[in-house]
Amino acid sequence: MDSLNKLWLSTGLANFELGQVIMMLVGCGLLYLAIARNFEPLLLLPMGFGAILTNIPVAGFSEAGGFLSYVYHGGIETGIFPLIIFMGVGAMTDFGALIANPKTLLLGAAAQTGIFATLFGAIALNAIPGIEFTLKDASAIAIIGGADGPTAIFLATKLAPELLGAIAVAAYSYMALVPIIQPPIMRALTTLDERKIEMAQLRPVTKVEKVIFPLGVLLMTIFFLPAATPLVGMFCLGNLMRESGVVDRLSSTAQNELINITTILLGLGVGSKLSAEAFLNVETLGILGLGAVAFSIGTASGVLMAKLMNKFSDVPINPLIGAAGVSAVPMAARVANKVGLEANPHNFLLMHAMGPNVAGVLGSAVAAGILLALVG
């Protein structure tokens, strides 16, 4: 009898709390988005699964000695996982389009308006009872507007670890929603003629340019914003491994096995922060709302910047590629291409949109550095 009672007391049924049940449903929701909707599955699948695991009663996944606590403290709290993923993303990134058309960096800069406007918005939300965002919290939330997962996770871990779960969910969800969020904004802010603009073919970029570029970016970051060098530095390391052509086996591993291993663990670890206390509150709603605003403002700013540049430049820019400045590589570039094709079936913007797209990655890493330097 004693044993039976002990067995009953060790079941989940005898130990569930409502919050845990709800958070498991949230985890299932993330799995649904990942599997059925193909929303950023590489991160949302492990993250959703991590959310389920961490909320299992008795099992203690995130308590001292639990598997997820090792993953979180060892890989995320230390910043190691996001940095390794950033290195891998750097090794996957081709800056050719950006170097061929450097003006597109301005589009990547403009789209960061989404970040800083959200910062403002997060503070404004403090007017709502139950929401109490410090400037650190606000900064961590604002980075969602950067549309870059590892950057958001890295910054959130440093500035507001208790919000990490909600921020990561918001960041990846909206990145997955880019094909839904962006097109209406892009169409609303452009005329049909603007969307029809065809862009000149990009000049070829030499190998030496591609090798020196990441070093130049790193150098400038060192000069002006060392706080951004963890992110930018690892990104540039990956890119240098790629472009140098002398360490192909390292570059390949960074792009494949290493980033895959890290992605599984990062997802699980981020998911482990989706506990009821941390997620089930009005602040999470605020974060989700701010994320949508951030993406919209970023998209709009990019498009408007492109229109502005057309006023001052002879070489026409299709304003649609401005929307790719939010990063969300390579989805946003594909969206620009698709909306462009709707207006003009001969208008292939993909390569052109890759410029602002990767500029957006740099832009948000720089923005993260600024927030770290001034608020962190």
Partner: protein, 98 residues
Amino acid sequence: MNNMEQQFLEAGTLMLAGMVFVFTFLTLLIIFINTVLAKLAVKFPDPVPSIRKRSNKKNNKAVSGDISPAIVAAISGAVTRYRQQHSQQPSSSQEAKK
């Protein structure tokens, strides 16, 4: 509300400083590309590969001869289908791999 006002002020400053900084930074990067990289592109152009040589190289890799990969693929496809049709033994080689 005094506190919130101050926070707004801080957020505003942060926004201003941030946007200025981001634009300055990326503008400097444009200058870097237009000056340093542009010069480097002129000074160290990519070696122009002789087209003949290149295509030979590719061929060599694929068949160690002068047949293009496309052809080899074609032949291989044909042969594969031929074998699928004619060979009776169940192909247990796939399992063996596992």
